[in-house]
Symmetry: C2
Subunit: 227 residues, 2 copies
Amino acid sequence: MNPKAFFKMSYGMYVVCSKDGDKVNGQIANTVTQVASEPALIAVAINKKNLTHEYIDKSKVLTVSILAQDTPLSFIGNFGFKSGRDIDKFKGIDYTTQETGVPIVTDNALAYMEAKVIGQTDAVTHTVFVCQVISAEVVKEGEPMTYAYYHEVKRGSTPKSAPSYVEIKKEEKPVMSKYECTVCGYIYDPELGDPEGKIPPGTPFEKIPDNWVCPVCGAAKSDFKKV
Amino acid sequence: MNPKAFFKMSYGMYVVCSKDGDKVNGQIANTVTQVASEPALIAVAINKKNLTHEYIDKSKVLTVSILAQDTPLSFIGNFGFKSGRDIDKFKGIDYTTQETGVPIVTDNALAYMEAKVIGQTDAVTHTVFVCQVISAEVVKEGEPMTYAYYHEVKRGSTPKSAPSYVEIKKEEKPVMSKYECTVCGYIYDPELGDPEGKIPPGTPFEKIPDNWVCPVCGAAKSDFKKV
């Protein structure tokens, strides 16, 4: 089996939120699809280890926000690489609530939908939830972020709990010293710098200020190691 | 509910094939996602009315071919807008078979996977099949076709059995006379012509030769009506 075959599949990037009583949580997911139009149904695959999975499994309600192409890495890092068990992911984030009371993230969202689980099936490490959409709205016009764009253009990384996480052995040694975030796997490439973090292209890792943090997960500079 | 919210979701374009004894069939699908990596699992949503659904439901085996961006509309029309009940969709198509005997379409494919159904869940008009991948290979390098690319760049149309089919009322009258295929919904736009069918941009519909056929579904010119 060639794991690279899976890299040709296309996905969007979404924030999926749910709740358990008064507790709320959300996470990044790329595996959201519309599976029927009358009635409007979506399928959402979530890792069983994630807190959001626990909440969806209990409350049977969730929301999906479709992320815009210009969503900052730091936003994805907050929802994708941190756990709601440790932090409040909604601090400083714009969201609203409607019928189910589950947060609907509107920050960096092109559109959102609120849905109720009508069926679910086991997928070993994950569960696929089939949900009936009860409301859906456009937030703003713009291009959606695709998973390919996230990886190729924004150099994002994939958390180990994601469906598409695969460890690929590096075949070539980089010519320049790149550094990898040991928390989330983000690679700092000195040729590209980190424009969002105000680090211009051509800046060696060693010259980055010590208070700089990983643009994806917010880890400290000292959490990076040379690759 | 605003149906335009769903248009912001991102998908690839795939041919999904299955078999029933010696009979084989395949269809276009956009709702294929990887839902787990260890073991490698995919989810595939298929309309219950489709022959491919009947075959998957019986045999519990299927293959997925990931289509390249430069896949011709006529190829998509063959697999997406015709029924295997009426024609042999594999005539003139390159494919191979492996363990399960289900055709693996390699024409216009970047990669493929062969899989066995391990679970399924009802989605009213559709079924979501969760499948364990038993083999996966890359066919060639290239960009995958996304559903957005298919719609925006190639002006593809959506069959009524697709999850994402929605009738949207036209808000503006076109300035020039466009014609719509009554079989598949493809719109002939005289400003763009039909380069694949050797109709140059700027050709009015009336001046197209009578033996010209719909580039998506192969319907006759007489099956078009003015919009």
